[in-house]
Symmetry: C2
Subunit: 361 residues, 2 copies
């Protein structure tokens, strides 16, 4: 049974300004200074379970060269370019039609697909690969060829920044096994997040999906028939030289909808594998701070920095620069590409607003 | 009677790091964003009372080109290069020997000289020029050809960062007239500074001196005879092609001493003109903050900056960069030439120490 991986890498990640910007989004950053960008780490993390030629990265044309720089193992043909952002359902539909054409050409029937964001952190890659393999095994069973599987994460805190997956109360504390999903919950407020954590039958929604090609195609046909008609009208063009032009002409007509709302909400055979492989979506400076290494005063430092009388502060400056930082508590100092940010870490959700103010003036 | 101006521009101004650095000291900065550097402003401030060809800038050879960029009205010959820093007495002695040679070549007898640092702020230039002219008039009187005059500044606060000039109690509150100096006082502690302010017969020492060529030469001969012997040994080489080599060979032998300790302390005919022309030596970020324009929250901003929930904070970033700063109170944020500083304004006297720490790591 062959496995494919769709890496969704269209985002901009403006919450990481000034490290991430339109011309250099978050997935291309090496925010921890490990020597590998998020997208590179994502590719390497799946490489033991998906052959290099079966990866597809869906992104904006503006980032195609960057993607190939970060993953030179891929051919240009493996980078799918959306002409505009249309949320995750059209992104996954496009890549699924391509996989359909690729599988047909190779004589494969109903390959497995894993779909993943490009910008997550995983600290236990071996456990990660074990869970993904378990998911592939599950969806390749004949009686689960229409099942849709989401990787859940055992929560460690009442996080309000993630969506949750609810399973039956008797499945509380389940881990490393396939459990039927009862409900998807959007990002909760703190009270609900605390209840979810205490209840034990709620897991963070990682945004990583596993299914068979037939499974997702059947779901698209059932729940997003207009989108399917649109892609069906050029089905024979996928994996040919005419594909890009077809996408450029038609993609704008796709409904702007997430895979969660467009498909998962309505599906009946929904499953999760709760897992624990040191996951974070590092969607914010706060989550970066949580996962970064700290000095004795709780500072997370990256760069050539002298820090004095400061604590619980993130300082992240680009190579070739230097900084002296003194007298800050629970703040963020970031510098990249001629842009500087100094703010309270607790107010980081307003970065986007400030960046807009800056671009206006 | 002809007038000469010696601009002392050898300093580094490391207290303004990262704006000032070894390769770009404070005198070349446009720290207020007026479009003119300190040295340029100094030149223009004296230009109505000293002809352009009678300026001499004493600096390090490394800064010669920078000086000429900032003051294109001067010829390379007017920039005197010290091979190393030897404090103000050797600097002024060197320039005085040059002026002696220049005056001789032009048939001038005993010209007036004003000596000034390169990095002061003056807000009322017309009043400044009136005071300097008054000083020139004074030292060109036959009975004052050996008098040494210092410009005093009427103090507006009990400043501990400046030296003071003491005059007789009956001269308290004197301004815009020549008064005999009783004593020079080094930088006082706060209690003494308060006493000086209350007493009224103490003025800030601006470090601007006015005297005649004969007056300062006589003083050097009396109080620094070794230095005079050194320069006398090549007296005929000044203002010739051999001058620089002579200086390069001999300058290191000069005693490292200030004009204040080497000459002014010992002189008998010492005078001051207390003045009030909006003067500051802007020796620190704190004095910069005092003199800069403030927004409604007391912030002094220079650059393309979005500032939120911050007060009494200095933000100074170089052209071509942008910054978002939020949540700071009484802090300093400065960026230039790949170096960033964020610290409490009250701790700015430690910048030098931190810069050393940074260079060590």
């Amino acid at each position: 049974m062959s496995n494919y991986c769709i890496i969704m890498a269209g985002g901009i990640g403006s919450r990481f300004w000034p490290l991430s910007k339109n011309n250099y989004p978050k997935q291309f950053l090496d925010i921890f200074g490990t020597g590998k960008s998020f997208i590179r780490s994502t590719f390497e993390r799946f490489l033991p379970v998906v052959p290099a030629e079966n990866f597809l990265v869906v992104t904006n044309a503006a980032y195609k060269e960057l993607v190939l720089e970060h993953i030179p193992e891929m051919t240009p043909n493996q980078v799918l370019c959306e002409p505009m952002r249309r949320n995750t359902a059209p992104c996954i539909a496009y890549a699924s039609y391509r996989i359909q054409a690729m599988a047909k050409a190779k004589g494969e029937t109903n390959p497995n697909i894993v779909v993943t964001p490009a910008d997550h952190l995983v600290t236990n890659e071996r456990e990660f690969q074990r869970i993904i393999s378990m998911g592939f095994d599950f969806v390749s069973q004949p009686n689960h060829k229409e099942s849709l599987l989401t990787i859940g994460i055992t929560p460690s805190r009442p996080e309000t920044g993630y969506g949750y997956i609810e399973v039956a109360p008797e499945e509380r504390g389940g881990e490393s096994r396939v459990i039927e999903v009862r409900n998807f919950k959007e990002k909760p407020d703190l009270d609900h997040a605390k209840q979810f954590l205490a209840a034990g039958n709620y897991f963070w929604n990682s945004g990583i999906f596993i299914w068979s090609l037939d499974g997702i195609m059947t779901a698209f046909r059932s729940f997003l028939p207009d989108m399917v008609s649109l892609f069906d009208s050029g089905a024979e063009l996928f994996n040919t030289d005419a594909e890009q032009q077809f996408i450029n002409e038609k993609f704008a007509q796709c409904q702007n909808i997430s895979i969660d709302f467009g498909v998962m909400e309505h599906a009946t055979q929904r499953f999760t594998i709760p897992a624990n492989f040191g996951w974070s979506d590092i969607g914010t400076w706060g989550s970066f701070y949580t996962h970064a290494q700290h000095d004795a005063d709780g500072n997370a430092l990256l760069g050539n920095i002298v820090v004095r009388e400061s604590k619980n502060t993130v300082i992240n400056i680009e190579p070739g620069t230097e900084a002296i930082v003194q007298g800050l508590d629970h703040c963020l100092v970031a510098y990249r590409d001629n842009s500087l940010l100094v703010c309270r870490l607790d107010d980081e959700q307003r970065i986007k607003e400030w960046v807009e103010d800056l671009s206006k003036q």
